[in-house]
């Protein structure tokens, strides 16, 4: 009993250290926000998709004392403001898309800071299945360990399947446009030749009439 308790308490700080190390490396991307102007990223998202994002200013080693505050804005494809926050160093936002289209997230340095250099912003942007709250699902359905992992895999596979169906429909649309264009190009070539022939025939008749009128023929 005593040795088992000791082994567990030895393992816990190791575990905490691992979690700390791992969580400091995320699946995030760092953007470089310029000193003047905005930096925008966008993504084409379908309807009814959950989006969760986390952004924070990264402390650069080169200037440790200059931490600028940034402002962030997220707009929907039709221009509605979904999130707007000024003068912050970190923040997060979450929304469910109501329309399909290009969602834009823009960052800029606050005007109050007269910035001379840019600043790095870490953005962790998750859509769809990556944004799912597995903790609440686990609590609600009382899953844990291997069962929860397999449930996550099932979710991922379902997302892949939905994505594939979506890609298939887009390919079908594209194919239709392609075939219509193909047909149109054929018709337009024939029309062009037809116009050319008709115009030259008209030309010949007109000139013949003209020469006859002027008694040259």
């Amino acid at each position: 009993m005593a040795t088992r308790v000791k082994a567990r308490s030895e393992l816990i700080p190791y575990l905490v250290f691992i979690i700390y190390v791992i969580t400091s490396f995320g699946g995030a991307v760092w953007l470089e926000v310029p000193s003047t102007g905005t930096k925008c990223v966008s993504e084409d998202i379908k309807q009814n998709v959950v989006v969760i994002a986390d952004f924070s200013v990264v402390n650069d080693d080169s200037n440790p004392h200059n931490t600028f505050n940034i402002a962030a804005r997220v707009t929907s494809p039709y221009g509605n403001n979904l999130y707007h926050q000024e003068n912050v160093t970190h923040g997060q936002f979450a929304f469910t898309t109501t329309e399909a289209g290009n969602y834009l997230a823009c960052f800029w340095i606050d005007e109050s800071h007269k910035a001379t250099t840019g600043v790095s912003v870490s953005l962790d942007w998750r859509t769809g299945i990556a944004a799912k709250d597995w903790e609440s699902v686990a609590r609600k359905e009382k899953l844990e360990g291997v069962e929860l992992e397999l449930r996550k895999l099932e979710g991922a596979i379902d997302a892949i399947h939905q994505n594939l169906i979506y890609l298939k429909s887009r390919e079908a649309d594209m194919r239709e446009v392609s075939e219509i264009t193909n047909g149109r190009v054929a018709w337009y070539s024939i029309m062009s030749i037809g116009v050319c022939i008709a115009v030259s025939v008209m030309q010949v008749f007109h000139l013949k009439r003209y020469f006859r009128k002027k008694k040259l023929i």
Binding site: V29, S42, L207, F211
Partner: protein, 211 residues
């Protein structure tokens, strides 16, 4: 034993949670834009980019972007010039921040779809085969999860390529119509110009010879 399994399960869950982020973003490239990604030692970093749209009419000429990937200490890892789409991977030998810098040589704005994703279990067999802490079942689940994330990453690239092709197709359709209209108008006006010039020539000749 049970506690050890529970601890290992938590570790694997946390690991697989963090590795989940497949970041697919579109950026507007004017002249040069840089993105960074923090990678762990030994991770396989997979990245891809597709030039989805060129905001100008000269898409066929000089389209594409340059990409230079540099490591944490500034060493160059990859260099691509004038590519419209590329998919590549490399192993991060050092942990740190890897920079992906895009350069646009054409005078128009370009929209680039960029995706980067770190995978830890690609070389799992060599690295952790000796580690007895990880139970085989959880290990297999983690590998499976990694493979699924790879599929999602490739699907994202395919989606970006499809977007690009859809835009090219639409432009082609519009161009076919413009070409047809312009060509007919040009033919008709050339022929009219011909008739006018001939009439003028013969009128002058007739006037000169006194008719």
């Amino acid at each position: 034993m049970v506690e050890q399994i529970a601890v290992v399960a938590v570790i694997v869950m946390v690991l697989s949670e963090i590795m989940g982020g497949v970041v697919g973003l579109r950026i507007m490239l004017e002249k040069q834009e840089c993105l960074s990604h923090k990678a762990d030692h030994g991770a396989t970093v997979r990245a891809s980019f597709v030039v989805v749209k060129v905001h100008g009419w000269r898409q066929s000429m000089s389209s594409g972007a340059d990409l230079v990937v540099t490591g944490p200490s500034g060493e160059q890892i990859r260099d691509f010039r004038d590519k419209t789409s590329e998919m590549f991977e490399f192993v991060a030998n050092k942990e740190g921040v890897y920079r992906f810098c895009f350069t646009n040589k054409s005078p128009f704005y370009e929209t680039i779809d960029f995706d980067v994703h770190s995978s830890y279990f690609f070389h799992f067999d060599q690295e952790h085969a000796k580690d007895e802490h990880f139970k085989p079942l959880l290990e297999s689940i983690a590998k499976l999860r990694d493979a699924l994330y790879n599929i999602q990453y490739e699907q994202h690239w395919l989606g970006a390529q499809t977007s690009r092709q859809a835009i090219v197709n639409e432009k082609m359709g519009k161009r076919a119509i413009y070409k047809a209209v312009f060509e007919s108008a040009a033919l008709v006006s050339a022929s009219g110009l011909q008739v006018y010039l001939l009439r003028r020539l013969f009128n002058r000749r007739l006037e000169m010879s006194g008719f």
